[in-house]
Amino acid sequence: MNNTFEKILQNEWLELTIRWILGTIFVAASYYKIISPENFARAVYSYDLFPGYSINLIAIIFPYMECFTGLCLILGIYHRSAAILINAMLFGFIILLSINIMRGHQFDCGCFSFNGSGNTDSVYSMLIRNVILLLMGGFVLYYKGYRKWSFQKSSR
């Protein structure tokens, strides 16, 4: 049974599918942030956790981190490093969500679009979504087998 499970986890097609899904989600999530940095800065502000001087800098840099790490996964370049960064971003976001859930703070997550008047998704569904993405990121990071359709052949 364990052997079968391990075999599934070492499946090249599964790795490719997960890598592409995760990469596409990150590139898609960066789109609205890149075309509307002002709205994203406001979403960062609404988390009520970042010092004022850092908010614009986060809004300027973070969307490109999302976009490039997503592209790295899709194209198969620097898989391991891209997965480390993606997991770090997801982990950070889970912490932010958890803090705001604990203190009952309302905010616009600004994940895929901006609605400007509070969040549409419930914070719990956002949290579950991020945990699933983190599991996917963990899988891409720890996968040891051959990576299909990848510009960089080394699996490391």
Binding site: S36, P37, R42, Y45, L57, C67, T69, L85
Partner: protein, 166 residues
Amino acid sequence: MKRVFKGTAKELMIIIGISVLCGFAVNAYSPKGIALFGNWDTSKGVVSAKPKSHGNYFFEEIEEIQTAKEIFDRGDSLFVDARHPDAYHEGHIPGAVSLPVGRFDEMIEGFGSRYPTSTPIITYCSGRECEDSHNLARLLFTEGYTNIRIFIDGYPGWEEMGYPRE
């Protein structure tokens, strides 16, 4: 092991470096770019990322709620509510006209036919964490209204002072 760690660190630096460079470069040249540091302190006025494209406009901000009340008492200016219609219907400054930013295009014709462009206008929204009053001021300015001021504490500030509402 050490080699792998070194390689990964290098890759991380490349991805982060390209992201930082791209972020700053695009922000510098994009018309939608923002200032490197915004104002996120409500005690210093309305919070804003300070978008560069809005830099050409300047409107007088009414920072004291009492000043807004004095203008209201004189009755020579039109208060215009930039908030969502639902918020307006829940409560607004007496005599204020609703002109939500999100419905500006469809409502400006009716507004324009009732109020000439020389009308002194005070825009307001939901206080210092809301930029709609500034956006409305800009939109009204492009329609030819020139006498516009912004009541930055908006309806929450007005309400807190216990001033009349309708």
